[in-house]
């Protein structure tokens, strides 16, 4: 099944909604944050374990909107097409289920996003402050990449 078929199937099932693109030609698909495990489990079923990898997780603090945006950049093989899976979390309490048990490659991205932006990946036992952030910063409860953080 090609990556386009996989994405179409996920759109048909209501797990993804197409929403523009990141330049150059990286289609964005928005999903509900509560369905992330369902989405990626289905993705593994359709594309196979060797059909894709999670390249990176990009968290962005949208302070004015009161949201944190979370982008999973997934590279589909063998075409090596990069697709953006995007979701939004409330800025006050950004929580989302961890994918660590089904996709171990998200370890570094989840740990970094938690430490720098404060997004909690529920079920990831490796989350800790101080993954990157120095002690004097995290002891004050500061998440450096929040727009209101003064570091």
């Amino acid at each position: 099944m090609s990556y386009k078929d996989v994405l179409n199937k996920l759109v048909e099932e209501g797990l993804l909604t197409p929403s523009g693109e990141v330049k150059p030609h990286r289609p964005i698909y928005v999903f509900e944050s509560g369905k992330i495990r369902e989405l990626f489990t289905k993705l593994i079923d359709l594309a196979g374990v060797e059909g894709f990898y999670v390249s990176t997780i990009v968290g962005t603090d949208l302070m004015k909107d009161g949201k944190v945006r979370l982008d999973y950049y997934v590279v589909f093989l063998p075409e090596e097409e990069t697709i953006v899976f995007r979701t939004f979390l409330p800025r006050e309490n950004p929580e989302i289920d961890s994918l660590l048990d089904i996709i171990p490659g998200v370890l570094s991205g989840e740990c970094e996003t938690y430490d720098l932006l404060g997004v909690v990946f529920k079920g990831n036992p490796a989350l800790k402050r101080g993954f990157f952030v120095p002690k004097d910063v995290y002891e004050k409860g500061i998440y450096p990449l929040r727009k209101d953080a003064k570091v």
């Binding site: 330049k23 374990v49 990176t56 950049y73 490659g105 570094s108 993954f131 952030v133």
Partner: protein, 406 residues
């Protein structure tokens, strides 16, 4: 008297990779637990000197950030700058001319050659083959010289700029570069042969740190470690950025998946890169000045977001840049290849001996200028002993007769 009881003393080894090196976005510590000589658990600790480059990138102008991101990594600074600059070009809708694209690829491939030579030299040193280390480093200097001729600097080039590059080359420089590349090519072929045939190297690297294709993808490994396990991923071939759609090259893939395959693959890639550089120099387009006029570059960036990939020497490097129409980027996210390749590979060390740990670690190609010291902690007595990584790789012996010569 017959032996009636064997007491196994557990050792805990702390291997500090750090405190910092520019290429490792996250200087780290590998804490290795071993049962006798066998590694049973590895924990990765990070955050020793995280420089937080993404935050200052949000507080400086788009153009100033070109110089900031160029300093993420000393070894592969042109690929960092290239990836960021291309993201800006995507947001602005600017495209450099062909000559600039070719020169960009030339700079990045020179960087790949010297990076691959460096890590192979380091591997030779780690396993006690110091004469080989010194010879490779000596030949690597030719490529550093070539980079200096092209960019004006042998390390931090600051060569990329929006819409082109900072310097052009003339025929005299072209000929000098070709001479340097031809000399280096012979040496790289020879070093590849040494890595293919030398007993010491084969015994230390073959079947050490094997990782399967499935594990590579599950753990999001990229670059030479992925390609050495049969995963054909290469951003140059898939994204075809700059002149990679015109410069012919092969994506080298191996199936063995061990430390040896990762090192041989780098020699093959270095040879591919040398051929690419020679092709570029012989077929350099003349479609205009590759150096844009800085004063005419756009001062305002429209709102938009770009995600660019580049195949750095260590693997896929990505930049996400978001503009909200203001003079500074709203968000810059950098994901270096070592970020995935080092943090996500703790499981590969299991079952190997302690002396294999440095070999496996080096085979991922981390930036290792700061990871020389190792503390061996005897959990029973609490006694600590410091030794060099090289010493550890030699099984704890301080000195090995340098019998090997090339």
């Amino acid at each position: 008297m017959a032996i009636t009881k064997i007491i196994e003393i557990p050792y805990s080894l702390e291997i500090p990779v750090g405190p910092q090196h520019p290429a490792l976005h996250e200087p780290l510590l590998l804490k290795v637990y071993a049962d006798g000589e066998e590694v049973v658990k590895v924990q990765v600790y990070t955050g020793y000197n995280h420089r937080g480059i993404e935050k200052p990138a949000e507080r400086n102008s788009f153009y100033r950030d070109i110089f900031i991101v160029g300093r993420v990594c000393g070894i592969c600074n042109t690929v960092h700058a290239n990836c960021y600059v291309r993201a800006l070009e995507q947001i602005l809708g600017i495209e450099p001319n062909n000559r600039a694209k070719y020169l960009r690829v030339l700079a990045m491939e020179l960087e790949r050659i010297h990076s691959h030579m460096l890590i192979n030299a380091v591997m030779a040193e780690i396993i006690g083959f110091e004469s080989l280390f010194m010879n490779i480093m000596l030949d690597r200097e030719r490529i550093m010289k070539a980079k200096e001729i092209l960019t004006g600097n042998r390390v931090l080039a600051d060569y990329m700029m929006v819409g082109g590059v900072r310097r052009d080359i003339n025929d005299e420089k072209k000929n000098k570069l070709l001479k340097l590349l031809n000399k280096t090519e012979k040496r790289v072929k020879y070093y590849k042969q040494v890595f293919m045939e030398d007993d010491t190297i084969l015994k230390r690297l073959v079947d050490v740190g094997i990782i399967t294709k499935t594990d590579v993808l599950k753990h999001s490994l990229i670059g030479p470690p992925a390609r050495a396990s049969g995963v054909k991923i290469d951003a140059r071939a898939s994204d075809k950025y700059d002149a990679y759609d015109e410069v012919p090259f092969n994506v080298v893939v191996r199936k063995e998946g061990d430390s040896w395959a990762r090192m041989i693959l780098r020699w093959d890639e270095a040879l591919e890169s040398i051929n690419m550089c020679k092709y570029i120099l012989e077929n350099l387009p003349s479609d205009g000045n590759p150096v844009p006029d800085e004063k005419r570059l756009p001062r305002r960036f429209p709102p938009g977001e770009a995600f660019t990939r580049v195949e750095a020497p260590r693997g896929e490097l990505t930049y996400y840049v978001m503009s909200d129409g203001k003079p500074m980027p709203y968000r810059v996210k950098i994901r270096t290849p070592s970020f995935n390749n080092i943090i996500n590979t703790a499981n590969v060390y299991l079952g190997h001996s302690i002396a294999d740990v440095p070999v496996i670690l080096v085979s991922w190609d981390p930036c290792i200028s700061c990871m020389e010291r190792i503390t061996v902690l005897d959990l029973t007595t609490g006694e600590k002993k410091r030794m060099h990584l090289k010493e550890l790789a030699r099984g704890g012996r301080k000195w090995v007769s340098p019998r090997y010569s090339i």
